[in-house]
């Protein structure tokens, strides 16, 4: 049982031992080789899951829309990603005549690099993590802003009006939705007391290794807003207006073909995978879980989150650009800010650690009691903001109806002699 649950760790230790002792490398060289191997394994994991995800997504969305999906290549169409890959490789690699060649050709590479870079800090099982940064969460956010640059490079480098429009939309969306994402991550960091992803998982795990209270129970509202802004950050439906084929052809990657296009595609799916893994770590307790080995739990939970992404994509229509901005700036940001302030006060008033209680006063409570208090607060904030939003929307609708009515009356008066 122990062997199975620690399989990844044992394997990596074995490889590290092999390199150090049997091949007789110096410690420095051995570290370098081990790190390089780890990077290769992580990138391969991401690329393979990209292939798998394209197939699963097409199947899931097809089922939701009452279709069959890919079923010709291999059993159940399982070889479809392979066929797609071959197709991508054999396509002509075009560059527009008036494109900025360097920028145009570098953009897909940059986007893939930034998408893959987030895997460096995501822990997949105890001890199986690229590097445990003590600013892990912050690192993820910073890496996310790098892909904005890549999209701007693609949009500008293509020298195409639609590509530029798509890039502008993308930047407006990604920069905007970074704000609620950040605000809700801060709430999680406040509760866990650390920015390291491993410490955040440990906070959701009991001392004996069994799963404790996941953060989604503490902060249901933060989890919801993080999920919404995560979908927007990865530019997935219903927030895929930056590559809306019916409005701006395909947005920033309209000029790309062949493997360069595939790299954009890879960036998109790898980002979605990374967001779901981060959601799992931040809110669902990461790899903590009973019976099954930790890495299975990690992937299972992430799979559920990804399934929600696909489900939303299969059912929701695309939002307009003004709706996208209004949802972010007029609803998610104010709500998250209020929620964050309340969480700050609640965490200070009801600390769970004795040291904090001694330093700032407040009532020492158990984690369960703190979870209950924060849960109630979150739900209250959610209900109040929803009712405020619905009241505002109702007022707007009534005003519009009144305006129409007045216009109609004026028209009637004009027609009547």
């Amino acid at each position: 049982m122990d062997v199975i649950s620690n399989l990844l760790k044992i394997l990596s230790d074995f490889v590290a031992d092999l390199i150090r002792s049997i091949l007789g490398f110096s410690p420095f060289l051995a570290d370098l080789v081990t790190m390089g191997l780890a990077a290769v394994v992580l990138i391969t994991f991401a690329a393979l899951s990209f292939m798998g995800l394209t197939y699963v997504e097409r199947k899931v969305v097809a089922r939701i829309q009452d279709r069959v999906g890919p079923n010709q290549a291999g059993p159940f169409g399982l070889l479809q990603p392979l066929a797609d890959g071959i197709k991508m490789f054999t396509k002509e690699d075009t560059t527009p005549a008036s494109a900025d060649r360097w920028v145009y050709n570098l953009a897909p590479l940059v986007i893939a690099v930034f998408a893959l870079a987030s895997f460096a800090v995501i822990p997949l099982a105890p001890g199986v993590v690229g590097t445990d940064l003590n600013v892990g969460v912050f690192y993820l956010l910073a890496i996310g802003s790098g892909s904005i640059i890549a999209i701007l490079m693609a949009g500008w480098g293509s020298n195409n009006k639609y590509a530029l429009l798509g890039a502008f939309r993308t930047v407006a969306q990604l920069v905007g939705y970074e704000v609620p994402m950040l605000l809700n991550i801060i709430a999680v960091v406040l509760i866990a007391g650390s920015m390291s992803l491993i410490d955040i998982i440990n906070h959701q795990t009991l001392a004996d290794g069994n799963p404790g209270i996941p953060h989604i129970v503490y902060l249901p509202l933060a989890a919801l807003v993080f999920l919404i802004s995560g979908i927007a950050e990865t530019a997935r439906s219903p927030f895929d207006l930056l590559e809306a084929e019916s409005e701006i052809v395909a947005g920033f990657h309209v000029e790309y073909s062949g493997m360069k296009f595939a790299l954009f595609f890879l960036g998109e799916y790898v980002n979605a995978l990374a967001v779901s893994l981060v959601f799992t770590v931040l809110f669902l307790g990461g790899y903590a879980g009973p019976i099954l080995p930790p890495y299975v739990w990690m992937l299972l939970k992430a799979a559920v989150v990804i399934f929600i992404f696909m489900w939303l994509r299969g059912t929701l229509p695309r939002v307009r650009i003004d709706q996208m901005h209004a949802l972010n700036w007029k609803f998610l940001v104010p709500m998250s800010t209020v929620n964050l302030i309340l969480v700050m006060i609640a965490v200070k008033l009801f600390p769970t650690s004795e040291a904090a209680a001694r330093a700032f006063g407040g009532i020492l409570v158990t984690p369960a009691a703190q979870a209950l208090i924060l849960f109630t607060l979150n739900i209250i904030v959610l209900l109040v903001s929803l009712s405020l939003a619905s009241r505002a929307a109702r007022k707007q609708r009534l005003a519009e109806a009144e305006l129409l009515e007045r216009r109609r009356a004026a028209n009637m008066a004009a027609v009547a002699p």
Binding site: W102, V103, V135, S145, V171, V175
Partner: protein, 235 residues
Amino acid sequence: MTIQQVVFAVLAVAVIGAALFVVTTGNLFRGALMLILVFFGMAGFYVLLDNGLFAVAQVMIYIGAISILIIFAVMLTRGMQAMIPRNAQATGAAVAAAALFVAIFLAFGPLRLTVDFSAVPVLSALFRTETARTLGDVPWQYANQPVPETYIADFGRALVNINQYLLPFLLIAFLVDAVLAGAVHLARQRKPAELIAERREIAEEEAEEAAALRGAASPEPLPQGAMAATTTQDH
């Protein structure tokens, strides 16, 4: 040579190369991209100094926000691609940079040029020292011990400590608030009457400017159509 030195050398070459490209290129967009590379290199230096927080903050703020602002400004400038930018300050900037480099080299290089600080009132006040006689001898606060494990928490406490950086921290918060309020004010929904008045104002200003420009050559007033034409332009 340790691995740190190798990494430092690679980063330094990349940063200096990219910075030279930024100041010599005629293509502003590529210049902005290279500036991003410079920022990345600086983040790398922070990593070498064992300060992950500042490295990540550098990436987040300089690349995630400021660079994007610069790129947007470049993109929204009319006629960007056809333009051949000229820079009248290039010579002055080069001289200033060279002078600064020479000063740093003289002070910190093998020569250790001596400057009597106590003799110059500004310098003695600035560095609050009577003893430092060499620029290289200024008691800079070097980090001569490893960065402590709790540096993030220490940094956070220093920002809210009234004896340390509370005032600048609050001032920055105030500034950010003011900027946000200003942005909301600029982007607010305007009534048609307001918009018309605004456009008329802009048109009048432009007409005045045009008249002033033309006034030097010919004192005759603008033709009637000019104002209408400027109103329908890009505002």
